[in-house]
Symmetry: C2
Subunit: 182 residues, 2 copies
């Protein structure tokens, strides 16, 4: 499941610029995640949408989007399991935000419906699953990475990734399913 | 604001195939929206992510994603207002769904945090805003379209689009803002 250790981080206002500096390796400059050695993939904000989620708890409310690189998207659409090497799934997490104007418009437009909306506010963190069946054989064929403000979380955080994903073994350790096209 | 007249529609399981049949005009086959004459743009499910939302009311809970074509994404990223002609924003709406397995994993992984997740379930509808300052001068430069199961809503539904968006006039009638890159 998604790791939430770094939920209080402020928005990574500088990260956006860094992410578009693609290197020859398809990774940004910067530190790699412990254990797995994964850097932030260049241009991941341009990847296509897999699905969206909300995570709510006692102390947090997040909206989330899962994006996939081309290999991942193709595998999701074709129901290809296990995912092929090279597939990368990105999970973008934001704090929920709301707008009084939006909710006033909803109330006026749909009286009595009790409608309220929330949307992606400040950025929290971004996580990646990178498929390489040989390199990451000890963790189900997936490497993991969790970045807050462009910096990877520590080793203790990354040790939690694979055990948490084991219950999704029947779907190649991936909890997310592809959202249907409306 | 988003129109919710067709919320009870079942998932458009057949729509996915149709949407990838791109025509020379960049539109799928099928009916056009009343008033504005907009068909479903080919391949919109491949567009890049603008932001995500949740809409909750007495009778519904939806997760939503806004995608943009290249012109729209560039304008959002550069803060370009008004949006240039050719910009298209797609709003994909799903009923919320949940998984007992997901929530069990959250409870085990983060004891006491009270975490629960919901994700995009069955498709509800998809809406488009198409920028053409001259063609759609009477509606703020935007044309509107709302499709459920690939079929456009009726004229009464589409008459509500522009008045609902007027409160967002300062952002060129667009409620959605670009979600920061984590």
């Amino acid at each position: 499941m998604k790791h939430i250790a770094c939920l209080t981080a402020a928005a990574a206002t500088m990260a956006g610029g860094i992410l578009y500096v693609a290197s020859a390796l398809g990774q940004t400059d910067g530190d790699a995640s412990p254990i797995y050695g994964i850097k932030i993939p260049a241009g991941y904000r341009d990847w296509r949408l897999i699905s969206v989620k909300q995570l709510a708890g006692n102390k947090l409310k997040q909206l989330r989007a899962q994006l996939g690189n081309d290999i991942a998207i193709e595998a999701f659409r074709e129901g290809k399991l296990p995912f092929p090497d090279g597939a990368i799934i990105a999970a973008l997490h934001w704090n929920e935000a709301s707008s009084e104007l939006d909710n006033q418009v909803l109330a006026a437009g749909f009286p009595g419906a009790g409608l309220e909306s929330v949307f992606a506010g400040s950025a929290v963190n971004v996580q990646f699953m990178v498929k390489d069946a040989k390199k990451y054989a000890a963790s189900g064929g997936w490497g993991y990475a969790d970045f807050t403000n462009g910096k990877p979380g520590d080793q203790a955080l990354h040790e939690k990734c694979f055990p948490c994903h084991v219950p999704a073994k029947d779907h190649d350790y991936v909890f997310t399913h592809y959202a249907p096209t409306p």
